[in-house]
Symmetry: C2
Subunit: 320 residues, 2 copies
């Protein structure tokens, strides 16, 4: 473990911790566990989250101080977790960047090393894994609340131990956390079984639009009419693209969601053969090789055409 | 480990192994791993499966002899895996029961101890877990092929480590299997991302029938017409009940699949509040507290009514 980071923790008294906008399980679980750990070391830890906590992560045990506006206090160091770049913290990131030394803790391979100290390990399954190691090196005893946070961080960021980043280490940490008091089915119930019924009514309508092209591109639509009919909004369709990705042989899964008749939000998933970040980049978006997104101007039909042209410049036809 | 079972293995030379009809990942993974293990001990092992292997498990490394008709050979013992009762083996179970001593290896708490020797542990996450222990006690070195089978058995029977039966032991075995050569994302890709497109067209139609009752019972239908329209069959709808279970607040998820106009196959999932095995038992079926099934005679509407009466004897109304 990095000795400068360790010294900052040992010598400091008051810390600010933060993570990215639209926080996921790894972001929240890591930042909460670390704040609790600093508390057990007799330090003051304040967590700043720009956004509210998504409903599926509301069950996570929270540390004493969580604020949603950049606090005014004086800090001995700022820990920025799970952010490839400082701007991912959202509004106030520039002020935060000037407050105190920054410790950048992350596992994204696109991390731009924005910290004064950088604990960046693209080989780690999750930021939760790096925090776990940090707690070990700080000799923090992981209590059940920290354990639930770390378990959720690792478990969700590996897609419940299904994604490519599912390492032996990820299993070991989950096992340790179960020993420390986590009940796996309780966490899974909270994270994966807290969807409103309307989500599935919407999914039903969306899947009825599913089409494949040359057996390797799969695409489905979400329209405003569907939201209206099922009493839902765009948030209800988060993750639908993952279902499309489950089709055998499909290399790229695409979900097109209507913002309005002339603007569409695109979510793209790959399985390795195609760099979907590069494709989305071409439309002004971005992401990772296997998970990216962008916005496209034009009607639904125009958006579909543009995507197909980008994914199959040689042309492709809709499968029967 | 049971000394009689161990002696049967050590003293015997030729064994028949089998499991239940409609085999799942635990059934196939366990029976394949065990057959391979017997092979390394210099024994002859024949696997009898009444049904063909579902497409999502076709990737599992198979032992040398897998047959789909009850073989005529002479065996020193018959190992029946993952079956609560002998009839779950399907056609030929009576002939099999008379062939040789039966070793009943299972983790269902409804197991009726039909074996000459019974290795039944309802505390085990899966039959795979019992087989893992058996291999340890027989000092079999788990090779990568056995590891993929055992990993798949444990991982799928715990709902990718999400169900109530996800014990510390389940994590430990998965970890051991990763050490023995399993790549978790490869297995997950095979099991969870090998679905034909038609599965999702069918899912779309099925979700359009989703209804809840008193917010705690969720039910959806699969009809023969849907199979025809989407070019699918019953196998394509395996696991649909899990989606229904993801609805917040729902205590029992029910999927009713048409066999013919007068017969329906029921899959039920609970989240702890209701013992769905008891409910399905009432219809001549069985399973676990949180996952069970049965068949019901009558039309779709009659089946629905019978289920609702069993789940809510006090009556309940369909939510708007």
């Amino acid at each position: 473990m990095n000795t400068r980071a360790k010294r900052l923790i040992e010598e400091g008294r008051s810390f600010l911790l933060t993570t990215h906008i639209d926080p996921d399980g790894d972001a929240i679980g890591s930042v909460f566990a670390f704040a609790m750990a600093l508390g057990t070391l007799g330090k003051e830890a304040t967590v700043y989250l720009r956004d509210r906590i998504p409903y599926r992560y509301e069950f996570l045990p929270a540390p004493a101080r969580v604020v949603h506006a950049v606090p005014e206090g004086k800090y001995d160091a700022i820990f920025v977790l799970d952010c490839g770049s400082l701007f991912r913290v959202g509004s106030g990131h520039d002020r935060i960047g000037a407050m105190a030394p920054i410790v950048n803790i992350d596992h994204h391979d696109t991390n731009d090393h924005f910290g004064t100290v950088n604990l960046v390990d693209p080989g780690a399954s999750s930021t939760g894994e790096i925090i776990y190691r940090l707690l070990k090196s700080l000799k923090v005893k992981v209590d059940p609340d920290m354990a639930v946070n770390l378990y959720t961080a690792v478990f969700t960021d590996t897609g419940s131990l299904r994604y490519d980043n599912t390492s032996l280490e990820a299993f070991k940490i989950c096992e340790e956390m179960v020993k420390a008091g986590v009940r796996p089915s309780w966490v899974a119930g909270m994270v994966y079984e807290s969807h409103p019924k309307e989500r599935f009514l919407l999914l039903g309508e969306v899947l009825c639009t599913l089409a494949t092209y040359g057996e390797r591109i799969a695409m489905a639509r979400v329209t405003s009419e569907m939201f209206e009919r099922t009493g839902t909004n765009r948030e209800f369709s988060d993750g639908f693209v993952e279902f499309i990705k489950e089709i055998r042989g499909v290399e790229v899964a695409v979900l097109i969601r209507e913002i309005d008749k002339q603007h569409h939000k695109i979510s793209m998933r790959g399985k390795g053969a195609v760099d979907v970040a590069a494709v989305c980049n071409g439309f002004g978006g971005g992401g990772h090789r296997n998970a990216a997104g962008c916005r496209i101007e034009g009607t639904m039909e125009e958006a579909e055409e543009k995507i197909l042209r980008a994914l199959a410049p040689e042309g492709c036809t809709k499968d029967g």
